[in-house]
């Protein structure tokens, strides 16, 4: 774990390097790896999308680079302040914190949040620290329950004693300490309604696992929490998602990363992730045929994109799934299982799938 003090020192080192160049009458230059599709490679061994070796030089004396150079240093200064204060800001906060007009000009340091976001990514690469370690947070989302006790901000929190709500996952989980983890695996689902089903049925207690959900996208807080549970406690992560291209993609991003995450792939990908369902085979096996929803054009287009992803291309199992989905020309939701009974998912579907290790990798 990197402390605020260590992170602050890394930023200060970056500044000192630049000052040294200036004092030596050299142009101050930042060397940032290129973050574009042209520099993204799929690392087969690590099963993760990573950045390649292309470097982009940002020279303060090059008119085309000067603004980006300034933006990166502005963000670095704000991050240093945050670390010194022990406070955290959101991406949007940072945008407003550095948004101002450069004196004696009509030029703003940033006009759009995408500019400060980019500068933050630069800083991540320059310091080798994640933005969470730089005290800059993404959005907060999601709930968790299980037989786990953590310590966070001086509070001891027992995930098994959170009533019907669960513990609300913060945007930044770097400083959480795990005091007790009694679980054989983690189930991650996108849908909060499905999480509430599993929670009401005390699935985590009966099956000795952790249940986690977002409501919407998989935030970096959730991703890092899953990863820490996987790495520090050796827990496999089972992904429960809809049987459609978007459900498959949730798994894909979680396991292999994405273009946006490539520069952070080391701390963001999850090689222990398994796709639990819903699979094409489940449709037949669990009598969900009547619950299929016909594909729209956009579904088929997305499916064809997935089929061609490098990390899926050579997997017979995944290609078989894609093919079957294509033949059905239809998709199905997790909640379709409710047509078999309200607790069919917790009493039959999940225990059976997990016992038989019936998942895709």
């Amino acid at each position: 774990m990197t402390t605020d003090k260590q992170a602050k020192e890394k930023i200060e080192d970056l500044g000192k390097e630049l000052v040294k160049e200036v004092l030596a009458n050299k142009p101050p230059i930042l060397n940032v790896p290129v973050r574009a599709l042209s520099n993204i490679v799929f690392n087969k061994q690590k099963e993760a999308l990573e950045l390649g070796n292309k470097i982009s030089e940002r020279n303060f004396f090059n008119v085309a680079h000067a603004k980006k150079f300034l933006q990166t240093l502005e963000v670095a200064a704000k991050s240093k302040d945050l670390l010194a204060l022990g406070k955290h800001a959101s991406l949007r906060d940072v945008f407003y914190m550095i948004k101002r007009t450069i004196p004696n000009t009509k030029t703003n340091i940033v006009d759009e949040q995408s500019e400060s976001d980019n500068a933050i990514e630069d800083l991540e690469l320059l310091t080798n620290l994640s933005r969470e370690q730089l005290n800059i947070n993404a959005n907060k989302m999601g709930s968790v329950a299980g037989q786990v006790v953590i310590e966070d901000k001086g509070d001891e929190i027992d995930w098994s004693k959170m009533g019907s709500g669960g513990w609300s996952i913060p945007s930044n989980v770097e400083e959480i300490k795990f005091k007790k983890v009694k679980a054989k695996y983690v189930i991650y689902m996108e849908k909060a309604a499905v999480w509430e089903r599993l929670h009401e049925d005390k699935f985590w207690e009966k099956q000795n696992c952790i249940i986690m959900s977002s409501q919407g996208q998989t935030t970096r807080g959730i991703r890092r929490l899953l990863q820490r549970l996987s790495q520090e406690h050796n827990l496999p992560i089972y992904v429960l998602a809809d049987f459609d291209p978007w459900g498959f993609y949730i798994y894909s991003v979680l396991k292999f990363g994405s273009i946006n995450l490539a520069h952070m792939s080391g701390s963001m990908t999850l090689s222990t992730a398994r796709f639990l369902g819903i699979t094409a085979d489940d449709i037949e096996k669990y009598g969900l045929k009547k619950q299929l929803i016909a594909f729209k054009d956009v579904d088929m287009t997305r499916l064809k994109q997935l089929q061609n992803y490098e990390w899926f291309k050579h997997s017979k199992d995944w290609q078989r799934q894609f093919k079957m989905m294509q033949t059905m020309n239809a998709k199905a939701e997790i909640q379709a299982l409710s047509s078999r009974g309200i607790s069919f998912i917790t009493e039959k579907y999940l225990p059976e799938k997990i016992k038989n290790e019936d998942f895709l990798m």
Copy 2:
């Protein structure tokens, strides 16, 4: 509080009434208040959107009514099952639970979730129970922190000891018991990032309040939790939202209700709600002019709609705000306050506004 047993009995009473009509050789009829704009009235005294007196008769022997009649009874039967089991289903679950083909026909009981959702609203009106009381839940979202201890599902939960995450608000808060509530007011904000700012700065501890946020829409769980805190503990609710038509509308729905909520207005509106900010006056007073974002056409259109809402039409204060926003032809976000410093919001803006009772009603 209505127990599951009482709710189940109400549904059984509904069934018995229908059986009585059948045995008396009368056509079974359900009388459901019309839920359409034509039957929505603004109750000035209660400051809430309510349903009027128009009733729609649903006669089983009328071909045009038969399917809706059946859908309502199907939903009633499922709700009764859920109440008997002590389990809760989501709206989507209920859709799948009643979705099947009527024997010897090619007709499905429901084809779209909107049909089962409608049937659930019928049932709410017929039984005078909210769908939460019928054990049918909406989506789960949001976090809360403060010096409050609750009991939920046998767990005692202290909202002041939840680390950086807070307690995750469930979709259904009807059964929560408040054991200790030490707070002078509640601040509700839509943005989770703002909630994290207030939480990190321990605003709830310093100011003796409760902080609550969603991330996205204000769910019924959040709405009911705010209402219970307002009604049972006499707490005013302060709404912190962006300075734009959508921010204003969040407040509008929370306080006065909406067309969709009109049939439930008694348990859904919040007469103690106050709009704390961001107001047009705040832009000047707190130096946010440079952070204004120019209006798009869609913003202006929405603003004009708000201006004409019956509950805003006669409010000088609100009309003044609308006018000033129109003149500025621009909007501003809560996070714009970060341009004045990361903790400007918790150290200056909020304490000052609340001390001066500088809010709109």
